[in-house]
């Protein structure tokens, strides 16, 4: 949303709150801009899910996040690790739910009213089939097919309903964690950015790259990504600060407190 916490806070203060045309938006106490830009780390209780630093994470990313934890400690926060084993269900649950939603939401792209429409179709069914076959890319088609599969009769309970139950357990795990901590800290992605085109042929590997961010989407928690260092190839590393629902100001304040004492956000990767 922005290059600095102040910019994010400024934009967020405009877009937050109830939108009369959006039934999913909520009435909630106004976002506290002054608190968000205060840059306050001292006295905060921060938890790091151990499972965010487990299998598949690159050593550089792990070291950077742990170094960030030390910086938080040095500035008056308490940081400790805790177990959140439900993390391993995040990717399967998320991709089942996301694909189910995608196949339903994308069904309106049928070539009739807007968007791409196949020019070599003569019947209604041909218009549907050719428009969608020609218009969607591989990854979109893959997700539509997965979505239809997990929603199909006979598999609905085994996949979609089960994923919704896993979602609830993931939410509960966050609520439990927030009984002990003001906010959570972890990496944004298990590795630094891939080179253009790299790994695109391996969708499962690409999906696993989302492991730490799909958790918050499933649970509905606010999270902020903050630069926290560079790997051995000089590629930037991000950490995320996850907060309780509607406590955006709290995580922004911590996120701002961190760059106040580091300069990662002013550095650029060497693109060679």
């Amino acid at each position: 949303m922005g290059k600095t916490v102040d910019d994010c806070a400024a934009l967020f203060s405009v877009i937050q709150g109830k939108d009369e045309k959006d039934g999913t938006s909520m009435v909630y106490p106004k976002f506290d801009f002054d608190k968000a830009v205060k840059g306050d780390i001292g006295g905060k209780k921060i938890g790091i899910p151990e499972d965010y630093l487990g299998e598949g994470i690159s050593p550089d990313v792990k070291d950077s996040v742990l170094a960030a934890a030390d910086i938080f400690r040095a500035n008056g926060a308490s940081v400790e690790t805790f177990k959140m084993p439900i993390v391993k269900y995040a990717i399967p649950a998320y991709y089942i739910i996301a694909c189910a939603e995608a196949c339903s939401n994308l069904s309106r792209y049928d070539g009739i009213k807007y968007g791409y429409s196949s020019s070599n179709a003569d019947t209604l069914m041909e218009t549907y089939v050719k428009t969608r076959s020609e218009g969607f890319g591989m990854e979109v088609k893959r997700r539509i097919m997965l979505g239809n599969f997990v929603l199909s009769s006979g598999y609905y309970d085994a996949y979609y309903n089960k994923a919704l139950k896993a979602k609830k357990l993931i939410q509960n795990a966050f609520y439990d964690a927030f009984k002990k901590y003001d906010m959570l800290l972890g990496p944004v992605a298990p590795t630094t950015a891939l080179k253009i085109g790299e790994s695109l042929s391996d969708p499962l590997k690409m999906y696993l790259g989302d492991i730490y961010t799909v958790m918050i989407n499933i649970a509905g928690m606010p999270s902020m990504s903050v630069p926290c260092g560079f790997d051995k190839d000089n590629m930037p590393i991000g950490m995320q600060i996850i907060g309780k629902p509607f406590e955006e100001a709290e995580i922004m304040s911590a996120a701002k407190g961190f760059p106040n004492v580091t300069d990662f956000h002013n550095k650029l990767p060497d693109l060679g």
């Binding site: 959006d22 039934g23 049928d110 968007g115």
Partner: protein, 104 residues
Amino acid sequence: MEWEIVMGLEVHTELATKTKIFCGCSTEFGGEPNTHVCEICSGMPGTLPLLNKRVVEFAVRTGIATNCTITQNNKFDRKNYFYPICRKRIRYRNFICLSAATVL
């Protein structure tokens, strides 16, 4: 052999609301073409439905009149199918009233 006839009725009702169920467009008949339509009821990308409060009130009233149990926690289900009259290729379904039992 004795047979007992058991029948279920599917009853559709047009509610006397001033606006449509998921947007603020008028339900009045006789308007100029394309004047009672908006980005929501035409299913434009990026739009979301917003439930008409009166519809829920009417549904609850109907439910009480037909001895239904009124659901306290309520959710929408989607029914997906490709059919021309169904603009978004999705229909929404919501069970507000359960177990109607009316003696005819």
